[in-house]
């Protein structure tokens, strides 16, 4: 049985690594348990299967997503960037964080197969795996300016355990 604290630590450490090395932005766990997201948000999601199955998501405001995309592409904050490029950047961040989390969990859960990331934009977005799923949610601050949420929705996969 995987420890929820272990998943929480892997998710936070994986995201911090990616934001520092590939996006050049500071990401810290929020100290405010009541932290709320803005209404207009982007949700990047990537699924995984193995001894654990589920999905990793990153949810942030559209203004935060735009800043992330500009930083990733080395663009100035005054430059124009279209919605497609912003979605692509958030998908790639989700993929990178999943890769980092996956390598951190390799010793405890073995190899995880991952999907291609998807990104949706909307209000009050939520992911669900249905009944019996567990959820690890980490609220973070990016550059002390933007609120964002990282989550792992998962369930253990007994078929993979017995193989």
């Amino acid at each position: 049985m995987i420890d929820e604290l272990c998943l929480n630590d892997a998710l936070l450490a994986g995201a911090k690594e990616i934001f520092e090395t590939m996006i050049f932005m500071d990401l810290e766990e929020s100290t405010d348990p009541e932290q709320k997201m803005e209404e207009d948000t982007l949700l990047g999601s990537i699924t995984f299967t193995g001894t654990l199955e589920g999905c990793l998501t990153i949810c942030c405001s559209s203004s935060c997503a735009k800043t992330i995309a500009l930083n990733m592409l080395g663009m100035d904050s005054t430059e124009e960037i279209n919605g497609e490029d912003i979605n692509d950047a958030i998908g790639e961040v989700t993929n990178l964080v999943m890769g980092s989390v996956k390598s951190r969990l390799a010793d405890s859960v073995g190899n995880l197969e991952v999907s291609i990331p998807t990104v949706v934009r909307g209000r009050k977005l939520e992911n669900s795996l249905g009944d019996g799923a567990n959820k690890v949610l980490v609220k973070v601050n990016i550059e002390d300016e933007f609120a964002a949420e990282l989550s792992l929705l998962y369930r253990e996969n007994p078929e993979q355990h017995s193989n």
Partner: protein, 124 residues
């Protein structure tokens, strides 16, 4: 001698990041190309082979390992050095894709120094 480079990744953002990181590494190429999927890469390589290809693994339609196998069947690309660039990092996967014909592997996240280290041997 002038060198040519192709970057294959389904994410336009990642292609731009890789291109910028290659520039930051100090390595210089005479011609650089991009492809957003395996079929586009094969089409471009058929017309103009390159010296070095940087290739993602986790792509829709045709993944990076399938693309490596197809390129190794092309006589015109027998000298192309293929370096995989991926978030995947299992030794089993790395060994497998090297056995299929790739010449190197860079794990994301990466640095300009990592590109310098992995690509310099192919620049002479």
């Amino acid at each position: 001698m002038a060198k040519t480079l192709m970057i294959v990744d389904d994410s336009a953002t990642m292609r731009k990041i890789i291109m910028r990181t290659v520039r930051m590494s100090g390595l210089q190429f005479d011609r650089t190309e991009e492809a957003g999927n395996g079929n586009e890469a094969l089409e471009k390589l058929g017309a103009n082979p390159v010296d070095i290809m940087l290739c993602d693994i986790n792509m829709p339609e045709m993944n990076g390992t399938e693309l490596v196998k197809k390129i190794r069947e092309m006589d015109s690309c027998k000298n192309t050095k293929i370096v995989m660039v991926s978030t995947e990092s299992s030794q089993e996967l790395i060994n497998g894709v090297i056995a299929d014909g790739a010449n190197g592997f860079i794990t994301k996240p990466f640095t300009p120094e990592k590109f310098q280290e992995k690509l310099s041997p192919f620049m002479n």
